[in-house]
Each structure stands twice: as C-alpha cells, then as structure tokens.
Amino acid sequence: MLHFDLTPVATKYSPAEMDLTTGADAAHIVTAKGYHLEPVRKLNLTHSSDSVAVDIEPLSLGNENEIKFVLKVADLKKFGTSATKLTLELITDKNIHVAVPGDSLAFTGKK
C-alpha cells in the first residue's frame, strides 16, 4: 500500500514580480499552480518583520492544479514601504496552513 500526502502544494506563481506603484485601486491577478489545490480557500500574505497578515479570498474556487487570487495594491500597503518580499501561505477549508517553501514560492513586490 502506498500513502500520499493530500496537502495542497503550489509550485509556481505568476507573476512572481509585480509593479505596485500603479494606482491604489489597481489589482493584479496572481495564479498559483500546483496540485491538491481544490481545498484552498485563502491566500495569506505575511512579512516577518512587521507580523502583518492579509487574507485574500480566491477569485473562484480552484481546481486541482490551479487557483487564482486578486491582489489589490491597497491591501499591500499594510506592509509599509520597507517590505519587498512577502511570504505566501495557503489556507485550506479545514484551516490547515501550508507554507510555500523555497525561493520560487516567494512573492516579491516592488513599491
């Protein structure tokens, strides 16, 4: 018998970089690709220095391999101007927090 971990795994985000200097009302669609993404309900952005978190509802319920979020520039203002790198965390319908490991999963924002 083989056992599998059903925890959501996101291996790729696009875009990895985005220009947040546009207007406050500007919004960017972030697409996360991976697998077991169906139960993901939130995207949590954190920054270690100021311990601020922002929960973002997905644009729609994801399928297995892909989920989309809308990031508004206004939401990212909470991190101040010093933060340039935000860590992403997926939160499932059972409130399981799944950290996105590795550099490829880091979210970089420019202000």
Binding site: M1, L2, F4, D5, L6, V9, T11, Y35, E64, N65
Partner: protein, 434 residues
C-alpha cells in the same frame, strides 16, 4: 559408415544424434543411490508374498537444484548377469500398482493369517457342534475361542501396515502417484524387481560361498595366503566378483588339459558332482569333437535362500538408473511482489513535491518480468474508478528486481491518502499484492 554418405546427410545424422543425446544427457545436479533389501527385510516390511516375488531396491534421489524440482519418470535396473562380462540391459521395475495386488492377497495367504483364520474356523466348528456332544467338546470350544482371541490379539496382522508402507514408499510411474524431489531436497522410494529371473544366476550358487585363501604354484606349494599377501583382494575388499566367478567356473587356463574325445567322458565329472544329466551339444562338424558344448539343468536358488556373498555380489553387479526431468513448480511460475519502495517524505508518504519527470519505485519479488504494469487503486473507497498505472522495467535479466515509473501528474490527481498496489499481467489480470 557416415563417411560413405553425402555430407549433408552425414551432418544431419550428427546433428540429430547430438540433439537426442542432449535431451537424455545426465543432469549434473541430480544424484541417486541404491540399496538392496534382503529377503527378511522385504518380508517384514512389505509382506511375504511380495518378498517371494520381488527384490526390493531402495532408491534415494537427491536434487541439488535450488530453482527447480525433479519429477521421477522411471526407475530402471540392470544386472550384469553374464559371467562372460557383457552388460545387462536396463528394465523398469514393477509398478507399485501391480505390486499392490500381491500385497492385497496377503490378507488371505500370509502364514500368520492362514494360521489365525484356520484356528478361528476350527473354533467356530467346535462351537457349532458343542450342543450335540456337550462335555469335553463344549470345554474345548471354550478353550479354543479364548486361545483364538489371544492368538489374534498378540500375533498382529501386519498386512494393513505393509500395504500402507507399500503405498507410501513404492515407486509408481502412474500420473496419480508420481514421485517428486523438491528443490535442494531428496526423496526415497522403493522399486520392486521380479526376482525369479535371477534365481539361476551364477552368483546365487553355493560356489560363491567359497572364500579365497591364497594361491599355489604348479607344484602345489602355497605361494600366497590371502591373510598375508599384500595383493589379497579378500583382505582388501571383502568381496571380489572376479574371484567369486573364478570359483564358480572350471575353465582356469592353469587347469587346461586336452579335452576328452568321448562326450561321455566329458560329461563324467559333471555327473559325479551333479545328479542331473549333462546335455552335450555336438558341433555341426562331426570331425571336431572338442567344440562340444555342455549344458546341465539350472539350480534355481530363490531369493530367500541367497547367501550373504550372493547378495553382496548381486549388489556389485546391479545398477539402478533414475529417469526424470526438472520441472518448475506452478507456485514458482507465479509472480509475487514482496516490496515496493518509493521515494518518501520523512513521514512515509510518497514524495511528489520533488518528483520531476517520473516517480520511480523499486520492486522486489519473483518473476517480475511477467508483470506488465503496477496499478494503484483507492484503498479507502473501492468504488473509486480512478487508478494510476506504472510501467515496469526489468533490467539485467534479474526477474527478482525491477523498477516501476509513475507519472507525477497522475499521482497528484489521486484523491485518497492510501492506495492498494495491484500487479497486472499481459492479459490484463489484476492481482492484489500483500
């Protein structure tokens, strides 16, 4: 002979001969040994009727092959009975099925059963007539009944045990009771050779019981004694077939004398020694009387009367051959999967995160080359139709080890945590692994 044939025919004959010889070539990993049971052994083990008719030969077959068993097809026995040295032919022993018929008759004809049944019959008769005569007859009937009860109880009827032993150890070529030697194992069985055909063999005669004690020169002086002579075959080997044969023949060149001209004279020494008439066959050419051949009636010596020397010489003259073939047991042809090792996470789950093009797992088991693919099926929900197949790769000719590759994208679609592993053969038949 082939030199006179066209080259293509000669080559064909050579090739065909080689092919036949290769089929019947002796396997290097099978050995056999034989031991001849004497009359008392055979009689006690299998019964008197069988001992009277057969020479029981114990055969032990060893199979040193660790991968294949050995199925015994036949046991053949040869005795080099010709004193002139020509080799005897091999013949099959009697099949157990035939010998068993004799064993069954022992329930009636065995001496013990004859005695017990006769006593019981007399007892019944006395009991029946006792009311007519009363008195001593009644007493005798009572005593005989008691005696018969004890007689039957303490002189046990062994015919059933003997029949069971025959069934257990007797050799049969019948498909219903074939003898199989397991891998790296051995099997013992007993072949039954009809003994009557050997009852006139030269080694059965009393002459073989003469013991060689030495030699003399032509003047009659002893020149070598067996107990002291370094070349003494008696001292060295105990039994010597050539010396025994010598003591049974009278054509020693040292005793050669001019042959008698009169056939009556020729036969006289035999007449003085044997009561039977000696038959003289004259040569076709009446002018050459030296070449007359002499015959006498054979002295039959049944197996039960063979002496120790006769048994020892018979053992030396006998050869047993076992015929059979290596076979692969059905169980060994079946595929089995004993272990499936995949790249795992620290908690023991299949590691899908670091998989690139393929998730490769290592299979260990048997006959893995017969597995077409490995199939994963939901262990938590048997109704789930979603399965994932992995392709098998056996390398290096080792069918006990293989690798199976799963497409990561297929594994990532699986909905359950646990999946059963099935092997699928070329015909699409699934077998669940342990």
């Amino acid at each position: 002979m082939l030199a006179n044939k066209p080259p293509d025919i000669a080559q064909g004959v050579v090739a065909a001969t080689r092919q036949v010889l290769s089929v019947f070539s002796r396997p290097v990993d099978v050995g056999c040994a034989m031991g001849i049971l004497d009359f008392p052994e055979t009689s006690h083990a299998y019964g008197r009727n069988i001992a009277n008719e057969y020479i029981a030969v114990q055969i032990v077959v060893r199979n040193l092959n660790k991968d294949q068993g050995f199925l015994v097809h036949d046991v053949k026995f040869a005795v080099n009975a010709d004193p002139r040295g020509s080799l005897g032919r091999f013949y099959s022993g009697r099949d157990k099925i035939i010998v068993r018929a004799l064993s069954a008759t022992q329930q009636n004809t065995d001496p013990r059963n004859l005695a017990v049944h006769t006593a019981a019959g007399i007892g019944s008769l006395l009991t029946a007539i006792a009311p007519l005569y009363l008195g001593a007859v009644t007493d005798a009937a009572g005593v005989l009944t008691t005696f018969n009860t004890a007689f039957d109880k303490y002189w046990k009827d062994l015919s059933f045990d003997q029949l069971n032993l025959l069934n257990d150890t007797g050799f049969s070529s019948a498909s219903s009771s074939q003898t199989f030697v397991p891998k790296t194992g051995s099997s013992m069985f007993v072949a039954f050779i009809p003994s009557r055909q050997f009852s006139e063999g030269w080694w059965t005669q009393r002459c073989v019981d003469q013991i060689y004690v030495g030699s003399t020169d032509r003047n009659g002086r002893v020149k070598a004694l067996a107990s002291t002579h370094p070349q003494s075959p008696v001292a060295a080997n105990g039994i010597d077939v050539d010396l025994a044969l010598k003591s049974c023949t009278f054509d020693d060149p040292g005793d050669a004398k001019p042959g008698p001209l009169n056939p009556a004279q020729l036969a006289r020494p035999f007449k003085s020694r044997q009561p039977e008439k000696v038959r003289v066959l004259y040569p076709k050419d009446p002018g050459d009387q030296r070449d007359a051949d002499l015959f006498r009636a054979a002295h039959a010596m049944p197996y039960r009367k063979w002496s120790g020397n006769a048994l020892a010489i018979f053992r030396e003259l006998s050869t047993a051959v076992v015929a059979g073939t290596h076979i692969i047991e059905q169980a060994d042809l079946q595929t089995s999967l004993s272990q499936l090792t995949c790249p795992n996470t620290p908690v023991g789950d299949v590691d899908l995160a670091s998989a690139k093009e393929k998730v490769t797992c290592v299979l260990t088991g048997r006959n893995l080359e017969k597995i077409a693919k490995v199939r994963l099926s939901n262990a938590e929900d048997s109704a789930d139709p979603a399965t994932v197949d992995g392709s098998i790769s056996v390398s290096g000719g080792d069918s006990n080890s293989a690798s199976v590759g799963f497409a990561p994208e297929d594994l990532r679609k699986l909905k359950a945590r646990s999946y059963n592993v099935f092997t699928v053969n070329a015909n699409g038949i699934e077998v669940k692994t342990a």
